[in-house]
């Protein structure tokens, strides 16, 4: 009987939460897991060229492989051509070594039914590159099912034919710089939001209730307004023929033919993101500051502290949880931001998330997109755990 009392409420509570846990598991966490598996697993080449790859296992890697490898490759490339997967295979090998796309594709197209002499002569006749050792290294590397290649690529590294890891060539190093840029931009936006948000939150928290409620609405309306609407507003305001440039021209501060480029560059990303994220700083600060009684500052004053000293020694330390929560929240949101930079960032105002979208939609390098996504997600989860310690999970304020 006692044991029954112990577990029944637990089962009931767990039973109530179970449907949602299952739902979020299937509709949200499983997709993320799929993405993660994409970043380390790719079987396209392995499935298309199984025999060739098996034979390459025993290859010394120093001289051009033997006729058996050429024969297997010819047969399997012909089949890939027939099954229309040759394009995918070519793309995969190309990511290991530039220029391989056309070599594989052309070979697939021109392969005859029977060899012209040996298969080796036939393949080299179509594309001389088959007589080079590096070509076969590329095929072998692309054939690995489990690979760290995408993660290496995501941090501007690559694997050399001998298996060692080296930095990407100078002109192909883009991601580390983009990560650094995203990090710096997020940090600057967080600082700006704190600079703008702290005095405002202080003012709202200590204003008479009626006025505070009214002014708080001025923070909440932008917060609730569609992100696309807010981004559109900034395009309207900042563009060459837009409102701000028109005002500057009318005031004679800027020549009509020298209008400022305020949007479709980093300036646009910066301004619009600060605007979008500012309420996320103001709201946590506001709720912390409201809990600080006025009497604390009065007490500090009565003990002889000037306003500056009273603020620094009494008020500021008490707002630190709000500062921490607001800053982490803004930083977390900024680091994964996609929509605003995509619309107002032009080519110079893009952040790392835009690279994920680029590889998902344009280059179709889904493995690399997944690896970049997994790295961003790891950063966000780490920061979120920190945030949960500062603010508690219930501290995710939404109003």
């Amino acid at each position: 009987m006692r044991r029954g009392r112990d577990w029944r409420p637990r089962v009931r509570a767990a039973g109530l939460a179970l449907p949602l846990v299952a739902f979020v598991g299937v509709t949200f966490v499983a997709p993320l897991a799929t993405m993660f598996s994409r970043s380390v697993y790719d079987a396209v080449v392995a499935d298309a060229l199984p025999e060739t790859l098996a034979l390459l296992e025993g290859w010394d890697g120093e001289s051009v492989p033997g006729e058996d490898v050429f024969a297997a490759a010819a047969g399997e490339l012909a089949r890939a051509q027939e099954e229309r997967v040759i394009g995918q295979v070519a793309g995969r090998v190309n990511r290991v070594q530039g220029g391989m796309r056309s070599i594989v594709a052309v070979t697939g197209r021109r392969l005859p039914e029977a060899p012209d002499g040996s298969w080796r002569q036939t393949l080299v006749g179509i594309e001389p590159a088959w007589a080079e050792v590096s070509t076969w290294h590329a095929v072998r590397a692309a054939g690995e099912r489990y690979t760290t290649r995408h993660y290496l690529a995501a941090v501007d590294l690559r694997r050399l034919p001998d298996g060692s890891v080296a930095r990407q060539e100078e002109d192909r190093r883009i991601y580390l710089r983009l990560f650094a840029r995203t990090f710096l931009v997020s940090l600057s936006i967080t600082a700006l939001c704190l600079l703008f948000g702290y005095p405002l939150a202080h003012f709202l928290a200590h204003a008479p209730p009626r006025r505070a409620g009214l002014l708080l609405a001025l923070v909440l309306v932008p917060f609730w307004t569609s992100l696309l609407v807010r981004t559109t507003s900034w395009i309207v305001l900042l563009q060459g023929q837009g409102v701000i440039n028109d005002i500057l021209v009318a005031l004679g501060l800027v020549a009509d033919d020298g209008r400022l480029a305020l949007v479709y560059n980093m300036t646009g990303t910066f301004v619009a993101m600060t605007h979008v994220l500012l309420p996320f700083m103001v709201l946590p600060l506001y709720s912390v500051m409201r809990g600080i009684p006025r009497s604390h500052m009065d007490a500090a004053a009565s003990l002889g502290a000037g306003p500056v000293q009273g603020f620094l020694r009494v008020y500021w330390p008490q707002t630190l949880p709000g500062v921490g929560a607001g800053s982490l929240l803004v930083f977390i949101l900024a680091i994964g931001y996609y929509i605003t930079p995509a619309l107002v960032g032009g080519s110079t105002g893009q952040l790392i998330s835009n690279m994920v979208a680029y590889h998902m939609q344009t280059s179709l390098n889904w493995g690399l997109a997944s690896a970049l996504g997994a790295i961003i997600l790891a950063c966000v989860i780490g920061l979120y755990l920190l945030y949960a310690r500062v603010a508690g999970t219930e501290g995710v304020r939404v109003t």
Partner: protein
């Protein structure tokens, strides 16, 4: 109360001025959209006629355009269908889970809470990429159902958070009182608990709806032509040919946001009154 020194008064004036400037920065971009949506010309700035308040320069042209456009009407229908279905699903599952999470007997509470709010903190581009792989494999790519499930997943954290917050001020002796009067658990929930936590459930539902109604990235990745929603139509409009018709839609969305904000505020005051 001490008399304020001159320096303090100057400091206070500067503080107020600074806050006014920040509030202006927050609100002005939103307010500027509204008059511009009545522009008679296809420009995104105030024409001279508008500034002279010439009635010729102002018109409802862009409102007529969206009212008669098939594309915008279809987008509105899709947004409403997907938003409503996703909200219903999220609210049902979220409220149930919040009831479990608020129980003092809930095992692994903190972990589960973190798990359930994960859709809120994951950058949306990453959620969208993962969903693209997974939903297409399940045959849910380019379907309404796929988007409904995806948007429901993104909306559930809001329901869980608002309902658990409301439940912290719920007096559980009411449940025991109902039980002692002979009501079963279901009846107790429906007749006693639900009416009292309804404001929290409704705010959660409104958040979930607002999330779906403004969501564009998942729609871009998962949706096909048949799943064109208002945000997607706006996205296309901003990227391709930005016409003032977008400003008319934006004006509607601003009014919608203000109405939503007002409703949630009213619900919150009601919940506070009930507790």
């Amino acid at each position: 109360m001490r008399a304020l020194s001159r320096a303090e008064r100057a400091g206070r004036t500067m503080h107020v001025a600074f806050c006014a400037a920040v509030l202006f920065f927050l609100m002005a971009p939103i307010l500027v959209i509204v008059p511009l949506s009545f522009n008679a010309e296809p420009y995104f700035t105030f024409t001279e006629g508008m500034l002279r308040l010439d009635p010729e320069a102002w018109s409802l042209r862009w409102y007529r355009e969206i009212a008669t456009s098939e594309a915008w009407r279809g987008a509105l229908v899709n947004s409403l269908v997907i938003g409503t279905a996703a909200t219903a699903l999220a609210t049902f599952l979220g409220t149930l889970a919040a009831l479990g999470l608020s129980s003092p007997h809930m095992p692994a509470r903190r972990f589960l809470m973190g798990f359930l709010v994960s859709p809120l903190v994951t950058p949306v581009i990453i959620s969208a990429a993962g969903m693209f792989f997974f939903y297409s494999r399940m045959g849910l790519g380019q379907t309404h159902l796929g988007l409904i499930l995806a948007h429901a997943a993104l909306g559930t954290p809001f329901v869980v958070i608002t309902v658990t917050a409301t439940l912290t001020s719920y007096n559980t002796t009411l449940n025991r009182a109902a039980a002692s009067l002979g009501a079963g658990p279901l009846r107790t929930f429906a007749r006693v608990q639900l009416p009292l936590i309804a404001p929290g459930v409704l705010s959660g539902a409104l958040f979930a709806f607002a999330t779906s109604f403004d969501e564009v990235v998942v729609v871009l990745f998962l949706g096909g032509v048949e799943q064109n929603t208002i945000p997607r139509q706006m996205w296309a409009g901003i990227r391709e040919e930005i016409s003032p018709a977008i400003l008319a839609v934006a004006t509607f969305l601003i009014v919608f946001a203000a109405a939503l904000l007002f409703t949630v505020g009213w619900l919150r005051r009601r919940a506070a009154g009930a507790a």
